[in-house]
């Protein structure tokens, strides 16, 4: 065996050196992320120009040029329109939102009774927030209270008419309150109904399956406007003469049926993703159909499709705005009504201001929901993940 001379191998470690200047630091980051190539540089410059042009406009309109105080339209008019602001002025007219804020939240709900809505809202939050935070205990009790008891308490608080509360008829309702009521009822009704429809669609009973498919596809094929339209014009035709339906109730039925068809498809996706072995495993344990679905299949399937369910919720929350077409006043409806029907605040900037305000509220709700679903998705991703 030949002896190897190993002396060319270093005997001590090279000391760690700082990364080259071209790889770290602000300059390197800029080079890599903004000016990597000629095309990149051009795109960056165009984007910077666009931002430099648009951002001051937006910020000025929203804040710096905006009017913050005032009692009527003259506060937001330029000199040529009969106000005091310089000609060519453009900015948000926030006092419009300020003076109509109560309407935007409660519609025409009687002023003295608004505490009931606020109380219902507070209860809603008190029950919802612990339900959403995974670490808080008593989830089962909380869920029963939120989905089972709260609807009745809420009905009592909002509608009233018994147990010492004055009756407030639903045509007086409006604003964010109606938006939230529609979404809450839509969610509470559509999830169980959607699960039933999805099970029906995968059922082995041909008639049940056929009926589920017909319902789901017919509802998914038409716009929500048509469903609402049916609910508001045809439902009264379907019931015996003399029997009347509350308008809000009709809209609720329309929204809930519409959402449940979409929910059914989402749940069906989850059901299909569960391996056949799980069904067979449940069968071999001797579980009946509802036990099999309730204990084995549904918990896994629903966990899988949480993003889809939340997406459906978000879609439904946005879709509640459509009730303004059957002349009901949700948040958007009230804003629109105040913009086009109220001369006190009729200025060129009112419409933009009102819609930006409504958009901000809708955006916060929808964005919050989507972020929460991402959080839950990461938390629940225990298996099925590669």
């Amino acid at each position: 065996m030949q002896e190897h001379d190993m002396s060319w191998v270093r005997t001590e470690m090279v000391l760690a050196q700082a990364a080259p200047r071209s790889q770290v630091g602000v300059a390197a980051w800029l080079q890599k992320n903004l000016f990597a190539s000629a095309v990149d540089t051009a795109m960056t410059l165009v984007a910077l120009l666009a931002i430099a042009w648009a951002l001051p406009h937006i910020l000025n309109w929203l804040f710096f040029d905006a009017v913050w105080t005032g009692t009527d339209r003259t506060a937001c008019l330029t000199t040529e329109q009969g106000g005091q602001l310089p000609a060519g002025w453009s900015g948000a007219c926030w006092p419009f939102v300020g003076s109509r804020f109560g309407q935007f939240m409660f519609g025409r709900y009687p002023y003295d009774e608004r505490w009931r809505v606020m109380l219902a809202g507070a209860l809603f939050l008190v029950l919802l927030v612990p339900l959403l935070i995974p670490r808080v205990p008593y989830k089962r009790l909380n869920a029963i209270l939120f989905f089972g008891v709260f609807p009745f308490v809420c009905f009592w608080l909002l509608v009233g008419g018994f147990l010492g509360l004055r009756y407030v008829e639903t045509p007086l309702w409006g604003g964010l309150m109606v938006t939230l009521v529609l979404s809450y009822v839509g969610i509470v009704v559509s999830l169980p109904l959607g699960i039933l429809l999805a099970l029906g669609r995968r059922s082995h009973m041909p008639i049940v399956k056929l009926l589920s498919v017909i319902f789901i596809e017919a509802v998914r094929g038409v716009p929500l406007v048509t469903v609402l339209f049916m609910a508001s014009f045809m439902l009264p035709l379907f019931v015996p003469p003399g029997m009347t339906f509350d308008k809000l109730l009709r809209a609720l039925i329309g929204v809930a049926l519409f959402a449940s068809a979409y929910m059914a498809e989402v749940v069906r996706g989850g059901l299909q993703a569960i391996p056949k072995g799980q069904y067979e495993g449940a069968d071999s344990l001797g579980l009946g159909y509802w036990q099999k679905m309730g204990f084995i299949v549904m918990p896994q399937a629903l966990t899988l499709v949480i993003p889809g369910i939340v997406n459906t919720f978000i879609g439904m929350f946005k879709d509640t705005t459509l009730v303004l077409i059957i002349s009901m006043f949700d948040l958007l409806g009230v804003v629109k009504q105040n913009i086009s029907g109220d001369p006190t605040w009729a200025t060129p900037q009112t419409a933009k201001t009102g819609y930006v305000f409504a958009a901000a509220i809708f955006w916060i709700f929808c964005f919050g929901m989507s972020r929460y679903s991402q959080f839950m998705e990461r938390r629940l991703a225990t298996s099925h993940k590669r």
Partner: protein, 394 residues
């Protein structure tokens, strides 16, 4: 145990535990309940209709409409029938849906690719766009454009002049219109011949590349043919086109084509809204192609442009097309929001007819039939496209 004994054993299971009997029982029960419900509804409806003196049937479609429609693609006046009014509505729905689909696809693909860009700024801008638009109700965006932006544009007298002789004011967007003279058929013929030639050239080039490996610049030849031949025909026919510019009058702009603010609001809102969803679909599709594919085409020596076109996009399309189809359907269905701003689509016109005649059931049936057929035709087309794009699998 003998066969007899087993059979006896199973026969002793009570009927209510037999799954077949149970399922038959439940289905019969369901049918009976449903039949009873339908009978009840029909009975009530007939009763209600006869009380309010509304005759059933589609005969009302031949009646005189008596209302005017602002946007019409076919000849229509208030003397036309309800049926014709509905056709106008269907056409308007289709036009706004088609225009919206094209624009939303273009914006959506640009933003979706932007979200994957190496450029930090572009990536962030695309993210802001997506998060902003998909979290706001489309109806709000429509109203914002209509009441917040377009109705604030200057009046006709102070129309904003735009390039190419077009104007923008609070009555919409005025474009020069083109009127084609005789000899227009020559240009069309040129286009048809060009398309046929391109198809032939592409086939030959493909065959030659397969046989010899030599490439042929198909793309540039196609551009040359498709632009060149109609242009040549245009010149040969003696430029048979007259451009009519909108003329500023005292009270109105005359001439040219007018795109109404209602259409613009609806079209812009639907395009921007749907584009934010399409962007996410495109992003998911491109991310869904494994990274190894990029490394593989680089290893084969393809440049990024070609690699994207030949390797990544065909695979991403397989993921993109099904959800894209449902977005197209959503856009079509959302076009019914037109009613909020008075754009005369199918839904708005149907609503007017319903108010005039009270034929609620017939109008709703027409809605369902039209929207369902649009949905079915769109899904069939997209399924066909999907089948074409699907990679042949073993």
């Amino acid at each position: 145990m003998s066969q007899e004994a087993i059979r006896d054993d199973s026969a002793r299971v009570p009927l209510i535990y037999d799954p077949r009997v149970r399922s038959a029982f439940f289905q019969v029960l369901l049918v009976v309940l449903l039949g009873f419900g339908i009978w009840w509804i029909v009975e009530n409806t007939i009763e209600n209709l006869s009380r309010s003196n509304i005759s059933t049937g589609f005969g009302f479609l031949r009646g005189r409409a008596g209302f005017d429609i602002a946007n019409t693609l076919i000849a229509y006046s208030s003397d036309s029938s309800y049926g014709q009014a509905l056709v106008v509505g269907v056409l308007n729905t289709l036009v706004v849906a088609a225009a919206g689909i094209v624009t939303a696809t273009i914006i959506g693909f640009l933003v979706g690719i932007g979200r994957l860009s190496n450029n930090w700024l572009i990536r962030k801008l695309a993210t802001v766009y997506v998060e902003l638009f998909r979290n706001i109700p489309p109806l709000l965006v429509i109203l914002f454009w209509y009441q917040g932006v377009l109705s604030l544009l200057p009046s006709v007298r102070q129309s904003i002049p735009l390039p190419l002789g077009s104007y923008l004011n609070n009555r919409g967007f005025y474009l020069p219109s083109l009127t084609w003279g005789p000899g227009f058929w020559l240009i069309l013929a040129g286009l048809v011949i060009a398309v046929a030639l391109v198809w032939y050239v592409a086939r030959r080039a493909h065959a030659r590349q397969m046989a010899t490996g030599q490439q042929f610049p198909v793309f540039w030849v196609s551009v040359l043919l498709i632009v060149g031949l109609p242009l040549l025909a245009f010149l040969l026919a003696g430029m048979p086109v007259t451009v009519e510019f909108p003329q500023k009058g005292t009270f109105n702009l005359t001439g040219g084509t007018n795109i109404k603010p209602e259409f613009l609001s609806l079209y812009l809102a639907l395009s921007f809204y749907t584009a934010s969803f399409i962007a996410e679909i495109v992003r998911a599709g491109v991310l869904g192609v494994p990274r190894g594919q990029t490394e593989a085409y680089s290893a084969l020596g393809l440049r990024p442009g070609k690699g994207l076109r030949l390797v990544i996009v065909p695979q991403a399309m397989r993921i993109i097309i099904p959800p894209l189809t449902s977005q197209y359907l959503n856009l079509t269905k959302n076009s019914s929001l037109a009613v909020a701003i008075g754009f005369p689509d199918l839904y708005a016109i149907g609503g007017t007819i319903l108010n005039q005649t009270g034929q609620a059931i017939e109008v709703v049936v027409i809605f369902m039939v039209v929207y369902l057929s649009i949905s079915i035709i769109t899904s069939l087309l997209m399924n066909w496209f999907n089948a074409k794009m699907a990679l042949p699998e073993r």
